[in-house]
């Protein structure tokens, strides 16, 4: 496989990746289907913004956001059924049950841990140490601007955390299980080792005392943009959208079996961060995963970072003290 040159890199030398927008798939079907799957994403984004902008205070609360998120997930599952991007990514009962397990773990166990040592606790500690009132002018900004700032600052943090995971071996060990997914579906964002899910959930958006409504608006932007990272739906995504926002096309390249392709498209919501930092690769891929597409089960996902960390440390110590370890498996970090 020859691959395609993107900047200084060759993308698609190990596994098939379509580079560029010219040759990616299109929605197949009549004019109504074309219309729906072209405008679905922008309409949902603007509807969510309008709702959170004008909802009365009693309705503009976190529990409403959770209810909307759940209903939206069910709708997106229906879209996966109606208009799949790839048949090879179609959701099965077992995949669905597995995904819900990881979502559940995030909502319960990881949520409990985060409430003690997550970003909320860290931010409270840091806020106590500085005079953050200096930043109170932020809350005087227009709501939408505040929301975009929150979303972009949070995503910038995620971008570097994610990029760090692909470049520093200990962090990579936590992130690797997520790269063993072989197909993208709406709940696949939750699949991974709990340590990684905790790390990626750390945000820096909350340092400034934005208005609660601005946070909800930022959440709505996240919900109606980054949710499509892991979705098996074919959209005719508008050009302006895929220039600004992360899409399933970008994220499928990131999850490709091609090693160089995985080192691209790190952002969650704003692909412009990747464009700015030179890591964006426009395109899409169908063949996903690691080790030729080996599926990692839940048990291995839970122990992988610790097991591989232990093996690597042991091999390192043996090398240092002159004991050779024949056949020791060197796990290759994606860097």
């Amino acid at each position: 496989m020859s691959g395609t040159r993107v900047g200084k890199r060759i993308i698609g030398a190990d596994a098939p990746v379509i580079v560029g927008w010219e040759n990616i798939g299109r929605v197949e079907g009549g004019p109504i289907k074309q219309f729906v799957f072209t405008w679905f994403q922008p309409v949902m984004l603007f509807a969510a913004i309008l709702f959170w902008y004008y909802a009365p205070n009693w309705l503009a609360v976190a529990s409403t956001a959770i209810a909307i998120r759940l209903s939206f997930t069910v709708l997106l599952l229906a879209l996966e059924w109606v208009n799949p991007r790839y048949r090879s990514w179609q959701l099965t009962w077992k995949e669905f049950a597995t995904d819900v397990f990881y979502v559940g773990l995030g909502m319960t166990f990881i949520g409990m841990i985060e409430s003690y040592i997550g970003d909320g606790a860290i931010i409270a500690a840091v806020q106590g140490a500085f005079d953050w009132d200096k930043f109170s002018w932020f809350t005087g900004l227009p709501l939408l601007l505040q929301a975009v700032l929150i979303s972009m600052i949070f995503d910038l943090g995620q971008y570097w955390m994610h990029r760090g995971m692909h470049n520093w071996y200990p962090l990579w060990l936590t992130h690797a299980p997520h790269h063993y997914i072989t197909q993208l579906n709406i709940n696949k964002g939750a699949v991974g080792n709990p340590v990684e899910l905790f790390l990626i959930g750390l945000g820096i958006g909350g340092f400034f005392d934005f208005l609660p409504r601005a946070f909800l608006l930022a959440g709505a932007i996240g919900m109606t943009v980054s949710v499509y990272q892991h979705i098996n739906v074919r959209f005719n995504t508008p050009r302006w959208w895929r220039f600004i926002f992360n899409t399933v096309e970008h994220h499928s390249v990131h999850h490709s079996q091609d090693y160089e392709a995985t080192r691209s498209n790190y952002s969650g919501t704003w692909i412009i961060w990747d464009r700015i930092f030179g890591t964006c690769v426009d395109g899409e891929a169908e063949v996903l995963g690691m080790e030729g597409g080996r599926r990692m089960d839940i048990g291995e996902t839970m122990v992988f970072p610790f097991r591989e960390g232990y093996r690597s440390a042991r091999a390192q110590i043996r090398r240092r003290f002159g004991h050779s370890e024949p056949g020791a498996r060197q796990l290759e970090p994606a860097e």
Partner: protein, 216 residues
Amino acid sequence: MLRLPVIERIWRVRGEVALDHPLSAAEAFARLDPLFATAGTHYAVEGERLTYTKRNPSAQDKLATFTSGTLDVVQDRGRARLAFDLSSTALLLCFLAPLLFLAFGQIAETVNAWEKAGAETSEADKDEDEKPKPVRKLNPIDEMLGAPAPEDPNAKKDKDEEEEERHSPVEAYVLAGLFFVIYLVGRVLEPWLVKRRLRAALARPTERERAPATPA
């Protein structure tokens, strides 16, 4: 070996598929071969029995839910049928998953009660540093566009005096219920799909069967 016929029904699925055309065991297993020739699958045919096990089957493996089993071609009064007896770790884990989430719910409630008890003893230190929070105002652009004004955070505080608990057990209990539903759906859907896939595979002639017989 210990048999638990009633309990085993949680993860074991038995059934049979009638063979429309008379097929020998070898012919039937040859037609089923594509279902088993997948990554992580080991299978062996001994006479009229096929035994298989799967380790980490791929997501799109047609038999991914059932990680071990046996299939027998049974000749009965001139009619042949394929009897299957399959086991599913996924179904068993899904059946047990509600227990895990019920445990998470219980942990949340226990930690809440424990923290509440701790908070009551240190109530006195808390009341000291109550500073009124500044009332935020909307940007004039938002006022013009008609966005609702933010609530007074000080007024809200009195209302929320009941104080929220740190962990909500509700999600855990909802997930326990959801997994029970997912299990029930899987216990009905997956055997039905397996039967359909076996029937479809048995009806499909192999390449060799399709090839015209070469004259001797």
